[in-house]
């Protein structure tokens, strides 16, 4: 319930504004969807159709099983492996490094922290040539490992977990020590549950980050069977005057949007639940 009850015209105006906004945002997606349900002829002959046609199942089946260069289901699998690998990898590595940096005294601790922090200034694009060199040297081209590992370190996530751990009162750590919890138990029983919300939020952000990777997959995968879906869409465009299979391309685009949308929808529930439950 809003604190201020608005009445009459202003309610209508705000709603019309919002609906218009949503319509503008959604129109390209709607159009992509429509284009994935009609035939090639319907698309290239003006006017553009605005209502879905009867070829939905046929187009999607063709995209999934045949595609243009490789079947889209393979690209979906590749993308899923890559996005999950990056997400889970980034979260595990960063939560463990933040744990080390916040709770353990070891030589050059702050040096390591700043080193991690510095990598924030070196995104993939900046270091892409040497990274490619190394990946090639290790024989990681055209492999899932090659898609995942170069992107798996995350200074941002490490930093986020560090900030979170620093807000956990020392007395809580001490209470756990008195209760007899060693470092591993403390991590598992106290820190992990307290980080649940952060993990959920990071999962959403990092999954989308991983899913939407374009430049790196473009470099390391030359075999169409190893393409990820986001870069694969671009590969479906013909070079020169060739004929583009728009219904299949549009079906692929729609398919590419579904997993991230599902992650957002599903995790958002968890995310809000986490927020409500773990507030101290």
């Amino acid at each position: 319930m809003s604190m201020v009850e608005k009445k009459g015209a202003s309610v209508w105006l705000t709603h019309i504004g919002l609906i218009l906004g949503i319509a503008v945002m959604c129109f390209p997606i709607w159009f992509a969807f429509v284009a994935s349900t009609v035939t090639q002829q319907d698309i290239i002959r003006p006017p553009l159709p605005l209502m879905p046609g009867p070829h939905l199942i046929e187009n999607y089946k063709r995209a999934l099983l045949e595609g243009v260069n490789a079947p889209v289901w393979k690209m979906l699998v590749n993308s899923t492996i890559m996005a999950l690998g990056i997400t889970i990898g980034k979260i595990s590595i960063s939560i463990i490094s933040a744990y080390a940096i916040v709770y353990f005294r070891f030589p050059f601790r702050m040096v390591f922290f700043w080193l991690i922090f510095l990598t924030l200034m070196l995104p993939v694009e900046v270091r892409i040539v040497p990274t490619y060199e190394i990946a090639a040297g290790l024989g990681l081209l055209n492999s899932h490992a090659g898609l995942i590992f170069p992107l798996i370190a995350s200074a941002t996530a490490t930093f986020l977990f560090r900030q979170l751990f620093m807000t956990i009162p020392d007395e809580l750590v001490e209470a756990a020590r008195i209760d007899g919890a060693g470092p591993m138990r403390f991590f598992r029983d106290i820190l992990l549950p307290l980080s649940r919300t952060n993990i959920a939020a990071l999962f959403v952000i990092l999954f989308i980050y991983g899913w939407n990777q374009y430049l790196w997959p473009l470099l390391v995968t030359t075999d169409p069977e190893m393409n990820t879906i986001v870069m694969g869409i671009k590969q479906m465009f013909p070079s020169g005057d060739d004929w583009a299979d728009w219904p299949v391309i549009m079906a692929t685009a729609i398919l590419a949007m579904l997993p991230p949308a599902a992650v957002v929808l599903f995790m958002q529930r968890l995310f809000i639940k986490g927020l409500v439950e773990s507030e101290k």
Binding site: P169, E171, L172, E174, A175, A176, R177, I178, D179, G180, A181, R185, D189, I190, P193, L194, R196, E277, S278, E279, K280
Partner: protein, 335 residues
């Protein structure tokens, strides 16, 4: 249940020493209150007993076992923290059981102990709630419960009541004291509140700047302060200090101390102090009279309200029984 002894215990952080050698032998079942102003090293001392701080020098033993190099969980202690330090994501029951679970105690015994503590502390109906669904007083009880279920030899409390409102604080301090008596567990209790110290302690340690200035039963410390600091810190309002008159007391004494309630009126010029009334605080049954002399020195006198005289701007004399006067030397020690 065990004796605890601290022998020449010191603590330094880097080059700064913050505890300058504390000795005390605590009997089994005794409640010792460590009291002193903020920053004097009370928590540091307690945390050394707990094993949360290393011991720079000296020896701490619990039940005839030197614990200097033992981990907290091996010391057979339990600690209650000022902000309770409950695990926010665990229910009250899980909070209580966590330490026992780690100790791999069997489920039935854990349940038995948790239920017993919950009954004792009247938190039975909250067992399935999360800490954030509890009031300050209830959290305080849960923190106590977490200490009790361990059935330790020693309870350690670090200002456990400072976050409660005044009324609850008075109630809880009686409850803690009663509980400690009932369980017969040795306890070390840190507070900066001298009333809390007076009312709860079997014996108290008055600390100042890393030194145990006096160790003794509350009334003993109150009536017979060994240093000027103790006289000033214990008692509210504090002891009055006046320069020693030439004729009385030991030769080394430079100052005298006298409690506000031991002062009585006399003819001006014949007592310890002459002054005029500056203001008075009526506390109900009793009244505090603030008297000031011509040099600006103030003393506080405590009288029964019914016996309080109507004072105007006249100069009055104040004196006390010689038996109620204590003498301090130039270093603030008893002369």
């Amino acid at each position: 249940m065990a004796d605890v002894s601290l022998h020449a215990v010191r603590k330094s952080y880097g080059k700064t020493e913050v505890i300058h050698g504390v000795d005390i032998d605590i009997a089994d079942g005794e409640m010792i209150v460590i009291v002193g102003p903020s920053g004097c090293g009370k928590s540091t001392l307690l945390r050394m007993v707990a094993g949360l701080e290393s011991i720079t020098a000296g020896k701490i033993s619990i039940g005839n076992r030197v614990v200097n190099d033992l981990e907290p969980r091996e010391r057979d202690i339990a600690m209650v923290f000022q902000n309770y330090a409950l695990y926010p994501h665990m229910s009250v029951r899980q909070n209580l059981a966590y330490g026992l679970k780690i100790a791999k105690m069997d489920k039935a015994e854990i349940d038995r102990r948790v239920d017993k503590a919950a009954t004792l502390l009247q938190i039975g109906e909250y067992l399935n709630r999360k800490p954030r669904q509890l009031s300050g007083g209830q959290r305080q009880r849960v923190a106590m419960g977490r200490a009790i279920v361990r059935e330790p030899s020693v309870f350690l409390f670090d200002e456990p009541l400072s976050n409660l409102d005044a009324k609850l604080r008075v109630q809880m301090r009686m409850e803690i004291k009663a509980l400690q008596r009932e369980l017969g567990v040795t306890a070390l209790y840190v507070t900066h509140d001298q009333v809390e110290a007076m009312t709860m302690a079997d014996r108290m340690i008055v600390m100042n700047a890393g030194i145990a200035e006096q160790i003794g039963a509350p009334l003993e410390v109150y009536n017979n302060p060994q240093t000027k600091f103790v006289g000033g810190f214990i008692g509210s309002p504090p002891m009055n200090f006046l320069p020693k008159a030439a004729q009385n007391g030991p030769a080394s004494a430079t100052e005298i101390g006298v409690r506000p309630e031991h002062l009585r009126f006399c003819a001006p010029g014949t007592g310890l102090f002459d002054g005029t009334l500056k203001f008075q605080e009526a506390l109900g049954a009793e009244m505090l009279l603030h008297l000031q002399d011509t040099t600006g020195r103030t003393i506080i006198m405590r009288v029964e309200t019914r016996e309080a005289p109507e004072l105007g701007t006249e100069t009055v004399g104040v004196t006390a029984d010689p038996a109620d006067i204590v003498f301090f030397d130039a270093n603030g020690k008893r002369a």
